[in-house]
Assembly symmetry: C2
Homo-oligomer: 350 residues x 2
DNA sequence: CTGAAAGCGCTAACAT
DNA sequence: ATGTTAGCGCTTTCAG
């Protein structure tokens, strides 16, 4: 069927070992034979067989990305960064998108133990002792994206700082009753954002009222969904006194929150300002203020780390932390928003 | 290092063949030895080695999806469908997202010839004779998503019908000068949508004026980008007489078009109505009318077809065509829109 | 610089 | 029902 090194060895009058050497730029092969081999290979349209190579080399050209919630478009952008960087190194990407964390463990097992992937990019997954142990006893390197553990290479955004800046921004625009819509606290990013939130309030001497903090009970995608945001805002709106500014742990939730606000006839940002986190593509269109994560870049860096470790398994782990950038739009700045976004368009025909 | 069938064979006092049989539910293995083997395997934490299996079986557990423009969130939704269905059959998904069609061919070659993937899902790629030939001489089955060729299994949306219904909707709401913003005509879906567009105009006896049709020259992502839509609308707005209704070949482009309309102070839909195609998630939030494609379902069906063919390579090809559903929102219906979407919210504070 | 040969871990005849 | 034995296509000592 497909052409193998035997075919090209025969046709080029060399042994298969030589052919193999040529393709691995290995040892000393005379320029002449090398050229001949290459020519024949080209002529026959030879391509090395992936599985055979993996078996012999004891490592694959596959990297697995395990992504707990791809519906969160944040991750889609990161994937692009992964892809681009991976392609440069001739690696292929296996994608597992899961809905629950149990599934994460299942997929992890799949990718790790069958020797399918020679590296794993693990997204937004809390590092329980069990997971840490599992990961450590596997030989493949792992890079954590959007979560952290000192024993692994990590890339993430400074969520605490982001939460802090979000609240600071609300304060700057004059909000005094500041609330928060939290995803599930098991999510480390969400938890960190909350810490930043509380810190900023303390610093400003503003009250931190529990009734203005709504925490998602929904485990589904850790509560990073529009539905969760919608429900949370409904809850918030039912309070005796309402906050006049709300920090939401993700843009996706903020979208749902906006919907609830709209249905309740609450003016944004005048009666209530809203700021999210991520800066997914949608946000620009709805004029949602937010903290932008450099998603594409995060993807590239994640792969860099993975490749680095594949070459030097013993090098010390490192953690790259990006600072989120404040993006001011209508949901906090009203008409004065620097970035108007789309939301403006219907105003014209009203 | 890792445990192999030899280990478990030794420990269970059987041959490796028997172990293999157990794991492949193969021939007749006595219940007793089977139990014993399974027990030992469990104890040792055995997992078959993916590459070794692939090499011996001459087929992998990997399916490749080649996606020319993942930034088009349409495809992200389809991927979910793929994933879910694939997981049911214990297959893994390799994702290649490319920006140009040249890259598509490169990736195709990668996936196909190295025997990496045992099946390919090819997205939105025009079936040139060269590609058809390439695909046909490979042994792996291919399913075309969002494109068509009689020699392959396909799943797509009825784009002609969609274009037709879009225009019909514009006509129903009273538009008489109907224009269109086209992606690159090399894109089959775009071309088909245009055919539907023209057909509907003819049927209604409305003029089909070339100056109201703007075709993207941009090859990048076949012109399915916001930027392309933005530029196209600018062009359209510069015409002596403007259309009062525009059908755009994708929601992504429509988003850009809306931006241009906003900047020009054109009232939507009163001065100009707009309708897109796809119904990506964003569309609901900006109140964009559109034709919805059943993305998740398309993904599942695509995998069904692929698996079907992997089992019966000779079965006749089939083409599943979904009918797009009209979704009416503010961009064509104004305040009367059934689905209000989010665009409403800023109205409240104006 | 090049060839021979022994695996890598598993499957699949072919025997028994 | 189970064992033996060839491979699958490639890498990698070890000789020459």
């Amino acid at each position: 069927m497909s052409v193998t090194i035997y075919d090209i060895a025969a046709k080029a009058n060399v042994s298969i070992a030589t052919v193999s050497r040529v393709f691995n730029n290995h040892a000393r092969v005379s320029p002449r034979t090398r050229a001949r081999v290459l020519a024949v290979a080209e002529e026959l349209g030879y391509q090395p067989h992936a599985s055979a190579q993996s078996l012999a080399r004891k490592k694959t050209s596959l990297v697995a990305a395990i992504i707990p919630m791809m519906t969160n478009y944040f991750f889609v952008e990161v994937i692009r960064g992964l892809q681009d960087r991976l392609a440069e190194s001739d690696l292929d990407l296996i994608v597992y998108s899961t809905l629950t964390l149990n599934e994460v463990d299942v997929q992890l097992e799949r990718a790790l133990q069958r020797g399918l992937a020679s590296g794993v990019l693990l997204f937004a997954t809390p590092m329980t002792p069990a997971r840490v142990a599992r990961l450590q006893r596997s030989s493949q390197p792992v890079v954590l994206v959007d979560s952290f553990h000192a024993d692994f290479d990590c890339v993430s955004t400074n969520n605490r700082e982001g939460g802090c800046r979000a609240v600071q921004h609300l304060i700057d625009r004059g909000c005094t009753r500041i609330g928060m819509i939290m995803a599930h606290p098991e999510s480390l990013p969400a938890a960190d954002r909350r810490i930043g939130f509380e810190q900023a309030l303390r610093q400003a001497g503003l009250p931190l009222r529990e009734e203005w903090i709504v925490v998602s009970e929904d485990m589904k995608q850790h509560g990073f969904t529009e539905e969760a945001g919608y429900q949370a805002m409904k809850t918030l709106l039912a309070r005796r006194t309402r906050p006049d500014g709300v920090f939401v742990t993700s843009d996706l939730q903020a979208l749902g929150a906006l919907q609830a606000l709209h249905e309740a006839g609450v003016a944004v940002p005048d009666e209530m300002a809203l700021i999210g986190f991520d800066d997914i593509k949608i946000s620009r269109y709805v004029g949602l203020s937010t903290l932008r994560q450099p998603m594409y870049e995060m993807g590239r860096v994640a792969v860099d780390k993975l490749l680095g470790r594949m070459e030097q398994p013993e090098r010390p782990t490192s953690h790259t932390v990006f600072s989120p950038a404040l993006v001011v739009r209508r949901s906090t700045a009203g008409e004065q928003a620097q970035e108007k976004g789309f939301l403006a368009w219907p105003l014209d025909h009203t």
